[in-house]
């Protein structure tokens, strides 16, 4: 199975723009399935972007974020070729991580 995280990080010399798409159901726990049973809550609790081991973006999420979340932000100080580590953990203890080179 391919990684659940898609990432694209591009630097223009000063700013590094990071775009991420994460595949996750992000169930709120309020929706019923076809049988009328509640689908239990299943959502990303923490999303972390680390550059050279230092956190540059940390999100504590709840159920209010949509399915397959898309995140875009920029930060200063990174060079082209640096590594960016992206990781998430959800409320069921599942997690995934990937690294991306800044282009």
């Amino acid at each position: 199975m391919a990684s659940s995280i898609r990432v694209r990080a591009t630097s223009n010399g000063d700013l590094t723009e990071v775009q991420t798409l994460i595949q996750h159901p992000m169930d709120t726990g309020l929706v019923k399935d076809a049988k009328g049973e509640l689908i239990p809550a299943h959502y990303i609790q923490e999303l972390r972007f680390a550059w050279n081991g230092k956190d540059v973006f940390v999100a504590n999420w709840g159920t209010a974020v949509s399915k397959d979340p898309y995140v875009k932000f920029s930060f200063k100080g990174a060079q082209k070729g640096d590594e960016l580590k992206i990781s998430w953990t959800d409320n069921k203890g599942a997690s995934d991580e990937t690294t991306a080179k800044i282009a």
Binding site: L21, K67, D68
Partner: protein, 287 residues
Amino acid sequence: MTARTYLLLGSLSAALVALALASPRVSAADKTDPAADAKAFQNFFFQKFPNVKHDDFVNGPYSMNEDMKRQWQEKEEFPPYEFALDAGKEMFATPFRNGKTYADCFPNGGIGIRQNYPYFDTKEGKVVTLELALNRCREANGEAPYSYVKDEMASLTAYMAFTSRGKPFDIRIPDDPRALEAFENGKRYFYTRRGQMNFSCASCHVQSPGERIRAEILAPALGILNAMPIYRSEWSGMGTISRRFITCNSQTRAVPLEPQADEYRDVEYFLSYVANGLPISGPGARP
């Protein structure tokens, strides 16, 4: 009796003879002419939207609205259908339990052939769509068929469409009265009003493309299947052509048919044929 009456009587009897000679299926005056239909259909849209490049119609609502188009182009850097596409690629390459793969069911191993579907099967006397062919392939190899509207089918067709991107639709109508009838039937279904709203498919997609329906922009019927399957933000997921037809029917408060019902297959045949020459752009993303 005046000469005129003779003339009238003469022409009347000639008409009767002509009626008797004509096949019971179509009279000479309204013979099905798909090529002329397609030309008229395309010209209608080309004239209605003179500023839209012909190949752009396959981008649906994005060809109608600059602002939406910009947003979409940004989104295309990170297309929402990407996960489905990857899953489809993997599924397509994974052998069935008997060791065969999807590639064994299709010409050219299933790669770059989406533009030839749906086709008219002269043996069966019916239209065969890509979704139907995929499920028949599964059943022939002892696998359970997939749902026509849901994820796996959308992933598979997404991958097959992706391998055909840029290739123009190339739908053939063989010289077979049943094929012409299927085309005619699809056309009839497309233009017939139905449901509580008394809408036909054409009420929105021919009469009002580019207009708003609540917050959405209606897509032109020309090239509407070229981008299938689509990731719709409204569904927060992928949908097949079957799903699109079903939701279109229920949104106009008509009773949807079963996926791959004859009428749906025929309307897909009609819509694909009139889009002949326009490139496949699937899988697509829609609001």
